[in-house]
């Protein structure tokens, strides 16, 4: 039987072989006896259950599963400090995107503008409460929770510590997963503007610029592998 194969690909697709001896996994100490703070020697692909030996990753490298091709882990180029700075920027931009009007429509000298909350409020009044709740959760509550939770975790992670509530927050962040949809809303705003432009004067408001900034930040964050925080921090995790 062959041992778990390490299969690391640097970002452009050239496989860079890991010279790993066969059957090495047999010599490992029982995984449940692992010191929680030590770096785990093994990695299980969450998409196909294949066991891999963990290899060191250089900045920007991505480890892919040899069986199914899913991403096992990625090494982000940014440290906790840089991520915290980005999160704080995201908070500022998010507050602006939420409070400021997004666009103004004009017709015969009459002008109407709308903020995110106007959007949610009108849907609630217009018998589409389901949509109002969905929008409030995915565009306001969840993104805000994500920003605060990440900010809190990173504040401590800067010095390699675990924030109070680390364990619960990490689990909560995992479950938030795809339920933050600000980037979809930005595209939606774009489509709305094009549609409205047929009949009305469209004037961009500061909110749309804030959303554009938020979209950039979300893209930057898409490449961040948060599970690494488990390995990069030490200490109590109540």
């Amino acid at each position: 039987m062959e041992g778990a194969r390490q299969h690391i690909k640097p970002t452009p697709h050239r496989p860079r072989g890991g010279g790993i001896c066969e059957n090495q996994w047999m010599d490992l100490s029982p995984p449940d006896a692992l010191d929680e703070t030590a770096t785990q020697p093994l990695l299980i692909c969450e998409h196909c259950d294949t066991v891999h030996r963990r290899g060191p990753l250089a900045k920007g490298e991505v480890a892919e599963c040899a069986r199914c091709g899913a991403v096992l882990e990625r090494c982000r180029g940014m440290g906790a400090n840089a991520l915290l700075a980005l999160i704080l920027t995201a908070l500022v931009v998010f507050v602006q995107a939420t409070l400021w009007p997004i666009v103004t429509l004009g017709l015969n000298g009459q002008y109407v503008d709308a903020t995110l909350w106007d959007v949610i409020h009108t849907m609630w009044l217009d018998h589409s409460q389901v949509v109002a709740v969905l929008a409030a959760l995915t565009l306001f509550v969840f993104p805000l929770c994500k920003i605060f939770m990440l900010g809190w975790l990173l504040l401590y992670a800067r010095s390699g510590r675990r924030a109070p509530g680390f364990r619960r927050l990490m689990v909560a962040l995992h479950h938030l997963g795809p339920w933050t949809m600000s980037e979809v809303f930005v595209l939606g705003a774009l489509v709305s503007i094009v549609k409205a432009h047929l009949y009305f004067d469209v004037l961009p408001d500061p909110g749309i610029y804030a959303y554009a900034g938020l979209m950039l930040l979300i893209t930057l964050f898409a490449g961040v592998d948060l599970t690494r925080l488990w390995d990069e921090t030490r200490g109590e995790s109540p």
Binding site: P31, R67, G69, D113, L134, V171
Partner: protein
């Protein structure tokens, strides 16, 4: 050696008596001294080899999503009223209008998000459910990739829901022009949420269970 042949010998967690935590990725021993499956020592989540009742839950949510998808497409999602002239739009007619009057590029994006992505989800998850149940070893890598695609693009279907919401909030010119949401948009929103839950309930590890790849 081909990828397929190489992957044949890779050990899987179940063979080694290990379980990977779904939430934090911690590698754990499958059973403790009493033979019970325990909670993850690192994050405290319940451990399981495969997501519980993956087939039943995914089928149920997928069928529910499909049932919502029918009224979502048949019923209009938005009413535009201007100077007493009332125009009801379905998802498809919205795309057509965008194509004809606005920008074809954007129409393609909306078409992908509102029509292709939901259809992709129904077809892809249906295929995965049926092929995994029979333990088929057909095109495993491609099916794994298909599942990851569904996970990646799934939530972009909310696009049309947000468009209707934003236009409703913006177009409030009384008698001159007014936009109202119609029931179709609620059904569409529910379709997106249900299919997102469906793809979360499915366990991609099932693709690799069942028949071993043939040895030759």
């Amino acid at each position: 050696m081909s990828q397929e042949a190489m992957s044949r010998h890779l050990p899987r967690a179940a063979e080694l008596g290990l379980i990977g935590c779904h939430v934090c990725g911690q590698v754990c021993r499958a059973v403790d001294a009493d033979g019970d499956i325990q909670a993850c020592p690192r994050c405290g989540s319940t451990l399981h080899r495969r997501k519980p009742a993956a087939y039943t839950r995914t089928w149920a949510l997928l069928i529910a999503g499909f049932l919502m998808y029918i009224p979502a497409n048949v019923l209009p999602i938005m009413r535009t009223a201007s100077l007493g002239d009332i125009d009801d739009n379905t998802i498809l007619s919205g795309v057509v209008e965008l194509w004809v009057k606005g920008s074809p590029g954007l129409a393609v994006i909306v078409f992908c998000a509102s029509i292709m992505v939901p259809m992709l989800k129904f077809l892809a998850l249906g295929t995965l459910l049926i092929s995994c149940r029979s333990g088929s070893n057909w095109a495993r890598r491609q099916r794994a990739k298909l599942y990851r695609l569904v996970e990646l693009v799934g939530y972009w279907s909310m696009l049309d829901v947000f468009v209707v919401a934003l236009l409703t909030a913006l177009v409030r010119f009384g008698y001159f022009s007014l936009v109202e949401p119609l029931p179709g948009v609620v059904f569409f929103g529910l379709t997106v949420v249900l299919t997102m839950f469906a793809s979360m309930c499915f366990d991609p590890r099932l693709i690799w269970d069942g028949k071993e790849d043939s040895d030759d």
